[in-house]
């Protein structure tokens, strides 16, 4: 809302005028008000004593510790951050603070549901009993056991014991098709595999960094662990603590991450990685690179250097990215001379897989300046030392299942990738190749809305006999399900919450039920155990536990046995200050003591002092960090020399430039969640009226471009790509590059409740996801578009 001062002054004048009247009418009005205000019809909150219960947030992978304020031990009235938790230190994000609107929200599913009519018709999704629901499922699973591979499970949650139980179930049942929703983590784990020889994800020691270059990451708008990033940013901007750091944002859009950086480089769309290579070129040719790292711990430097000199000189990179040569050189110098400095990768919030080469380019830059496996740099995200479960018991069918080709694998080499390739799954499900899908399970995911380029996924569903949703909410995917098995929400269930994305020290959060489940839901872990038992054979033997709690406890034994790490029982801990090699002495004595403390405080953590030792850090053929990836050759990736080196691959956005003269780029913001739950009322209320007005959402268009097209603020337009068109309004803004239209993601829900349903459009419907042929990873940062008045 914008109001100039004249408006204020006018308003004040009006106010003063009123007081000049005789006081009598006001006295009378006062009495009338008191007399009439027995506000019996509006709710009176229930009273009672207040308690605070620690638990872990699960609304995103961010891993925050939260406290729930309970009245009379049963009404949850507030969620705030747990001050003891190292990740968020008492802070919270807007989504976490809205959590109760999910617990008590109107789109909760109260019982199992069965589709009795046409799929997609919510009015014929009828309540059934749990016995009936699990019986239907078990019967179908028994019937299709010979074709076990036809069971596909999609999980939006990437780690923790519940996703592991799903994966385990599929393994024991005989299907290789446990597939994760796409994310930047797919490219990261593949990139780690290629350059360091082992799967794993990067952990950034941001709290100790003095300079950060973010290559397209929305570092304060949802990238990594969102609340941790807010906290880190506050510290980078702190004048008092000596933590001040310089932030450079490389991004096409004038986002908050761009505006809040010390320097914003507004690059040509899709060229972030080229800039990283341009910096690398300057650092190498001017000799600013870390010689001891390059000489002792890297492989293929000469090849990389040659490629840089040939293709990524400041002149060439300036032409690709639109950043001046002088700027590239100056930034390269600064980045190599500021210690420690780190470069971030992962586009936006990290929901897009992106190119593995983009990750490799940024990671190589980190290597060159000596920031790999160093404090203030980037390392492999440490794993939490949990105890393993017993091996899966394989029977004849599941032994066969292990040999079946995965449906998310698109070519020979991809079968050795440590990565899910979701877009291949969509394609293969659609074509029924190499075999058809009988049953699809969807857990903690809402692909029918959240998947960029969503249409092929929805089409694929029509080839699948049974779609099963485990969601607690009536989301778009659940609307398309034949069977709905609702679990309790995160505030009503036990679950582990592991180290969030991008963190450099290990965290084990424990989510505990803070109140009795509001509905007759069943914990998905318990559901799987029950289902496995009813199937008998190897599947049953693979699930030896009586319930989910005992399965979880078995893994937590590992923490009790490890003589390191603490339960978060005091505020202000800073695990990143551990220093190399140091470990925390445990503050628990036995497993039972540890478990009780976890329930009480909600979290275990250790320091970041566990950087991998250099001789074991790399599992590549050379035992070193490989600029030139021998791993890629080893697993049979064919190509020319460039194939094995970090390089920039220009992606031509889908659509004919003649027909679609502009580029449509999606953007993500922290105030609109990108699923699997829809935006809560608290957050939707905070959208500006140039983002959402009534049911219309806005696209950002550059001021000059709008003028050229004859568009004014608020005009109703159609944006059309080769996938389809959407009706929106325009917001004229200096955020937008002249040739790009920016559209927010996360809106346009047809499911959920009246507070979000029908508001705005779903950008995913008209984005085109482009897959890399070799790796199968998909990018959707840009699609060609035309825009015209309605």
């Amino acid at each position: 809302m914008k109001l100039d001062r004249r408006a204020f002054v006018k308003l004040i004048a009006g106010g003063v005028g009123g007081t000049l009247l005789s006081p009598l009418p006001w006295k009378m009005a006062d009495d009338t008000a008191i007399w009439s205000q027995n506000w019996f019809w509006r709710p009176s909150p229930e009273r009672g004593s207040a308690t605070l219960v620690n638990t872990a947030c699960q609304l995103c992978p961010g891993g925050c510790g939260i406290r729930v304020r309970l009245i009379a031990k049963k009404n949850a009235v507030r969620i705030d951050g747990n001050p003891n938790h190292p990740v968020n230190q008492g802070g919270i994000c807007p989504l976490g603070a809205s959590g109760l609107q999910y617990l008590y929200g109107p789109s909760r599913i109260e019982t199992p549901l069965k589709q009795t009519g046409q799929r997609g018709d919510v009015t014929t999704l009828k309540p059934i009993s749990w016995d009936e629901a699990l019986d239907i499922l078990a019967t179908k699973l028994r019937a299709m056991r010979q074709k076990a591979r036809g069971l596909v499970c999609v999980s939006g949650k990437r780690q923790g014991t519940v996703p592991e139980l799903f994966a385990r179930f599929l393994h024991a049942y005989g299907s290789p098709n446990y597939v994760l929703m796409p994310a930047a983590a797919d490219a990261e784990s593949l990139g780690m595999f290629f350059s360091q020889g082992q799967s794993g994800l990067p952990g950034y020691d941001l709290e100790n960094a003095k300079m950060i270059i973010s290559f397209g990451s929305s570092y304060i708008e949802g990238w990594g662990a969102p609340a941790r990033m807010q906290l880190a940013f506050g510290n980078w901007r702190s004048n008092t603590k000596g933590n001040r750091a310089r932030i450079v944002q490389v991004e096409t859009r004038g986002s908050l991450s761009s505006s809040k950086a010390d320097d914003w480089l507004a690059v040509t769309p899709g060229t972030e990685a080229a800039l990283a290579l341009g910096l690398a070129q300057v650092i190498v040719s001017e000799g600013y690179y870390d010689r001891s790292f390059v000489n002792q711990y890297s492989y293929g430097f000469d090849e990389f250097k040659r490629l840089l000199q040939r293709n990524y000189t400041p002149e060439k990179v300036a032409a690709i990215t639109g950043v001046t040569r002088e700027k590239i050189s100056a930034l390269a110098r600064e980045f190599s001379q500021t210690k420690p400095a780190v470069a971030l990768s992962g586009w936006g919030q990290g929901r897009m897989q992106g190119s593995v080469y983009d990750f490799l380019a940024v990671q190589s830059l980190n290597g060159l300046v000596g920031s790999l496996n160093k404090p203030g740099g980037v390392t492999k995200k440490p794993s939490v030392p949990l105890a393993p479960w017993p091996e899966v018991v394989l029977d004849a069918i599941s032994l066969e299942g292990e040999k079946e080709p995965r449906l998310d694998v698109g070519n020979e080499v991809q079968s050795s990738f440590p990565t899910s390739l979701f877009y291949n799954l969509v394609k293969n499900m659609n074509q029924g190749k190499p075999y058809s899908t009988q049953m699809l399970w969807v857990y903690e995911a809402n692909p029918a809305h959240d998947l960029a380029d969503v249409e092929p996924f929805i089409e694929a569903l029509s080839n699948i006999e049974t779609v099963v949703s485990f969601s607690s909410f009536m989301d778009e995917t659940t609307q398309l399900a034949d069977l709905v098995l609702p679990g309790p929400t995160y505030l009503e269930r036990l679950e582990d919450v592991l180290t969030p994305p991008g963190l450099q020290y290990p965290v084990f959060g424990l989510s505990t039920p803070v109140l009795m489940p509001r509905f007759a839901t069943i914990h998905p872990g318990d559901m799987l155990i029950r289902l496995a038992k009813s199937l008998g054979g190897g599947v049953a033997s693979s699930f030896p536990w009586s319930d989910y709690e005992s399965a979880l406890k078995q893994r937590v034994e590992g923490l009790a046995q490890k003589a390191s790490g603490r339960v978060a029982d005091e505020p202000g801990v800073e695990p990143w200050k551990g220093g190399q090699g140091s470990k925390l002495a445990p503050n628990y004595e036995s497993f039972d003591d540890l478990w009780d403390k976890l329930v009480e405080y909600g979290c275990w953590f250790d320091t970041s002092g566990n950087m991998p030792a250099w001789d074991s850090a790399f599992k590549t053929p050379s035992g070193k960090f490989e600029f030139y990836s021998q791993k890629m050759r080893q697993i049979g990736i064919r190509g020319n020399d460039i194939t094995y080196l970090p390089h920039f691959e220009e992606v031509e956005p889908a659509g004919d430039p003649g027909d679609y003269p502009l580029l449509l780029m999606p953007y993500e913001t922290l105030i609109i969640t990108n699923g699997p739950v829809a935006n809560p009322p608290f957050m939707t209320k905070m959208l500006f009226d140039f983002q959402l007005k009534g049911n219309d959402c806005f696209v950002d268009i550059n001021t000059k471009t709008a003028a050229n097209l004859g568009l004014k603020e608020g005009d109703r337009v159609t944006v059309q790509t080769e996938r389809g068109s959407l009706e929106v309004r325009v917001h004229v803004s200096g955020n937008a590059r002249p040739d790009v239209i920016f559209i927010p993601t996360g809106l346009g829900h047809s499911g959920f409740d009246p507070y979000i349903k029908g508001k705005g459009v779903n950008a995913n419907a008209i984005l085109v996801a482009q897959q890399d042929k070799t790796t199968g990873l998909a990018s959707w940062w840009g699609t060609r578009v035309k825009i015209y008045k309605v």
Partner: protein, 249 residues
């Protein structure tokens, strides 16, 4: 307050806009803390109740010189002498400043809904209930008993979470203390801010963090020249933000 020579209390807030990421957690935390109602459509902003509003600011420059910032705005709890603009115009004494703490209170049950205070407030910090608040039945369970719900026809606004002051005082009383320590009374927005961009305390106590920050050369207040003496102080190193604060909110 310890270390406060004058013994005077002037609760105030400092918001560091350099640290603020624009995440809007503060605004969400406030809604939750104070049973602020919501409706299906909240996009008519003059009808939407947001005790803590987040203003959008930009430097007005074209791409790529364009920069933006979000500015969280609670009630600014004006300290103008002898009255803040709003309490001055209230015909029924429904809104008054507590001179012990400097908090500008608004008592909805006394409010007759004349909306003079809304017009008087230079910062649009006051809101009118055009409708009775209504929650989906189950969501009534998440209403906090610390703050009563309001009805149609009355005004409401940020109270600096005065109920939290009451709770802190009760606690101190039980523990036999007369005074509150710094940090014992903190509003919900300040507590929730993940970037730790918000500070709260006694501006009249020269040793408090807020008093020190308020003296920073980067400090400014909104529409300073109106003489409303707000007790919410902003920090920013950006000149364009300082300029806007004097003119446009």
């Amino acid at each position: 307050m310890s270390g406060n020579e004058s013994g005077k209390i002037r609760y105030g807030m400092v918001i560091d806009l350099d640290k603020c990421t624009g995440c809007m957690t503060c605004a969400v935390a406030c809604q939750q803390e104070n049973n602020v109602p919501f409706r299906e459509d909240e996009t008519k902003k003059v009808r939407s109740i947001t005790w803590l509003e987040v203003f959008y600011l930009d430097n007005g420059k074209p791409y790529p010189e364009h920069r933006k910032a979000y500015l969280p705005r609670p009630c600014l709890q004006c300290d103008a002498d002898p009255h803040p603009p709003c309490t001055f115009v209230c015909p029924v004494n429904a809104t008054q400043r507590d001179e012990e703490t400097g908090l500008v209170a608004h008592i909805p049950v006394r409010c007759i809904g004349c909306r003079y205070c809304i017009s008087a407030c230079s910062y649009h910090a006051r809101y009118f209930n055009w409708w009775d608040p209504k929650w989906p039945k189950a969501m009534e369970e998440m209403l906090t008993p610390d703050v009563s719900t309001r009805m149609r026809g009355v005004v409401e606004k940020c109270t600096f979470c005065v109920h939290r002051l009451q709770l802190a005082k009760d606690k101190a009383f039980v523990e036999g203390r007369q005074e509150l320590e710094e940090g014992e009374y903190v509003p919900a927005c300040v507590e929730a801010c993940p970037a730790k961009a918000m500070y709260f305390g006694n501006l009249a106590d020269s040793h408090s963090e807020v008093a020190k920050l308020a003296k920073s050369p980067e400090a400014f207040r909104l529409l300073e020249k109106l003489g409303t003496e707000p007790k919410v102080i902003y920090l920013s190193s950006q000149e364009w933000i300082h300029k806007l604060a004097d003119n446009v909110v």
